[in-house]
C-alpha cells in the first residue's frame, strides 16, 4: 500500500483537512497528537474510511511513518483473519451504531501483530451529519501476556493438585494393601478421587463457577451414568452454576449418596432400582436451590445403625457449609435426600 501512485493526491487532501480542524480545534489537536494513546481520525464520508489524521503514538505503535498512513483505508492496517464478529462491531461503530468495542489486531510495519481494543467515536458536523470517526486503540499485548501467564500458573497449580491427590491415593493403596480390608481401601481411595474430580472441574473453569450437572456428570460417571440404556439415573434440572466451595461439597455429597445407593439402596441390586435427581431454583425466601435425590425400586431401607462419614458430611457439611437444610428420609420404598440452600446469584448458565 505504500507504493500507491495516487497517494500524493489523497494524502494532500487529508493533510488539508487536518490543517482545517487544527485551526478550529487548536489545543485538542495538540492533545491528540501528543497523548500516549494511539489515535486516528478517518473520513466517514468515504466508504472505506481513509485515515486523515494519525498521532505519534499510532505511528510508534504500528511502526509506520505518517506518509505511510495518511490517505490509506482504516482496514488496510488490520491484520488478516480478523475475528468476523469484531469486524461487524467495527462496521457498526463506523456507522454510529456501536454494539460494543471490537478487539482487533493491527498489522505492524514489520509484519508483526498487535492485539488492541478499538474505540470508535463518531464526529458530526453542525447539521448532525457524520463526517469523521475518531478511533483510539489500547494495546492489549501486555494484558494478553499477563492472561497467558496466569493461565499457565493456574494450569500448573491444577496439575500439581491433581498429581498430589494421585500420590495421596497411591500412598493409601501402598500403605494399607495387605493390612486392611480391600473394600475399606477402595472406599478411602474413592473419596479422595471424588475430591480430585471436583478439583479438576473447578480447574477447568478457572476456579469460577461450575454447573450442578457438570458435577453430577463427573461424580456419577463411575456409577454408570453414561451406560446408555442401562443408566440408573434420571436427572432433571438446569445447569445451575455453583460457587467453587459449594461445588466441592456437592461433589463429595453426591459421591457419598451414590456409594450408599450401591451398598444399601437403589443400586444395590442389579436391574432393580433407579435414582431420580431433580433440582430447581425457587423464588421462595430470596432464591432457593432445591435438590431432591430420590431412590426408587430398590430394597426396603431403614435408618443407618450408626452415623458415619457419609451421613455426617451430608447432614452437617451441607447444612453448615452451605447455610442450607437437609432432610434425609429413609422411606421403605426408597431413600430420599432433600437439600435446600440459598441459590447462588446469577446461577443459571446463559444459553450459549
Amino acid at each position: 500500500m505504500q507504493n500507491d501512485p495516487d497517494k500524493s493526491g489523497s494524502q494532500k487532501a487529508a493533510e488539508d483537512e487536518v490543517e482545517g480542524f487544527k485551526q478550529e480545534l487548536g489545543p485538542f489537536v495538540v492533545a491528540a497528537e501528543t497523548t500516549r494513546m494511539a489515535m486516528v481520525f478517518t473520513d466517514a464520508k468515504k466508504a472505506d474510511e481513509p485515515i486523515i489524521f494519525a498521532n505519534d503514538s499510532f505511528l510508534s505503535l504500528t511502526g509506520f511513518t505518517r506518509n505511510n498512513v495518511l490517505g490509506e483505508t482504516f482496514k488496510s492496517f488490520l491484520a488478516p483473519n480478523c475475528d468476523a464478529r469484531a469486524l461487524e462491531q467495527l462496521e457498526a461503530a463506523f456507522k454510529d451504531a456501536s454494539d460494543g468495542d471490537p478487539e482487533l489486531c493491527l498489522k505492524r510495519q514489520d509484519g508483526s501483530i498487535i492485539p488492541t481494543s478499538v474505540f470508535v467515536s463518531p464526529v458530526c458536523d453542525e447539521r448532525g451529519d457524520l463526517v469523521q470517526n475518531f478511533v483510539s486503540f489500547v494495546d492489549l499485548t501486555k494484558h494478553r501476556q499477563e492472561q497467558a501467564h496466569l493461565r499457565f500458573l493456574l494450569d500448573e497449580l491444577n496439575h500439581r493438585t491433581q498429581n498430589t491427590l494421585a500420590t495421596v491415593m497411591a500412598i493409601i493403596g501402598q500403605t494399607l494393601r495387605g493390612m486392611a480390608d480391600d473394600d475399606l481401601i477402595a472406599k478411602l481411595e474413592k473419596r479422595v478421587l471424588a475430591l480430585s474430580k471436583a478439583n479438576s472441574l473447578l480447574g477447568a473453569e478457572n476456579w469460577d463457577r461450575v454447573g450442578v450437572r457438570d458435577v453430577l456428570d463427573r461424580i456419577l460417571a463411575p456409577f454408570g451414568l453414561n451406560n446408555g440404556q442401562d443408566c440408573k439415573f434420571a436427572i432433571r434440572g438446569e445447569n445451575v452454576r455453583l460457587q467453587p466451595k459449594v461445588a466441592l461439597t456437592f461433589a463429595m455429597v453426591f459421591h457419598e449418596l451414590a456409594t450408599n445407593a450401591v451398598q444399601y439402596g437403589a443400586l444395590s441390586e442389579p436391574d432393580a432400582g433407579l435414582i431420580e435427581i431433580e433440582w430447581s431454583v425457587e423464588p421462595a425466601q430470596g432464591r432457593e436451590l432445591r435438590l431432591r435425590w430420590r431412590e426408587v425400586g430398590g430394597p426396603s431401607v431403614g435408618p443407618p445403625q450408626h452415623k458415619g462419614f457419609g451421613s455426617r458430611l451430608i447432614e452437617r457439611g451441607l447444612a453448615q457449609e452451605l447455610n442450607g437444610s437437609v432432610q434425609l428420609t429413609y422411606d421403605p420404598s426408597g431413600f430420599v435426600c432433600e437439600i435446600k440452600m440459598p441459590a447462588p446469584q446469577e446461577s443459571v448458565q446463559a444459553p450459549s
Binding site: A166, A170, G173, Q174, V192, L193, S196, A221
Partner: protein
C-alpha cells in the same frame, strides 16, 4: 480372571514413582500384565522396541518432557493407548485429540472400561 485379559501386556509410562505404583496396582488387579513403568520417553521407546506391548497408559507430561513420541511409536505399530494427564484435557496437543484421555488421578473403574474398549479390535481408536 479372564484369561484373555491376563495375557495382555500394558505399558505404563509415568514419571511420578508413587503414581506409577498405583497404576501398576490397578492394572494388576484388573488382570493385566504390566510392562514398565517407564519414567522417560527413551525408556518407554526401548520397552516398545524390545518387547511386545498390547496397550499402553501414557502420562502426557514426563517431568517437562511430552510423551507424544511414545504415542507416535505406538500408533506406528497399531498399539492402542490411553493418555493420562493432571492437566486439563484441553491441554492435549491438537494432533492427539482423537485419543482417549483420562484425568489424573485415574479412576480404576473408568480405566478398566477404557482399556476394555481399546482392546476390542473393532473399537480401535482412529
Amino acid at each position: 480372571m479372564n484369561n484373555l485379559v491376563s495375557a495382555r501386556r500394558v505399558l505404563v509410562v509415568e514419571d511420578e514413582v508413587m503414581v506409577a505404583w498405583a497404576v501398576e496396582d490397578m492394572l494388576t488387579s484388573l488382570g493385566y500384565t504390566v510392562v514398565g513403568p517407564a519414567a522417560r520417553v527413551d525408556q518407554a521407546l526401548s520397552l516398545i522396541e524390545n518387547g511386545s506391548v498390547d496397550a499402553a497408559v501414557l502420562d502426557i507430561n514426563l517431568n517437562g518432557e511430552k510423551s507424544y513420541p511414545v504415542a507416535d511409536a505406538l500408533i506406528a505399530r497399531g498399539v492402542p493407548f490411553i493418555f493420562s494427564t493432571g492437566y486439563n484435557k484441553t491441554s492435549v496437543h491438537t494432533g492427539y485429540l482423537g485419543y482417549t484421555t483420562l484425568q489424573k488421578p485415574l479412576d480404576g473403574s473408568i480405566l478398566e472400561k477404557a482399556l476394555a474398549e481399546l482392546l476390542v479390535p473393532t473399537m480401535r481408536m482412529p
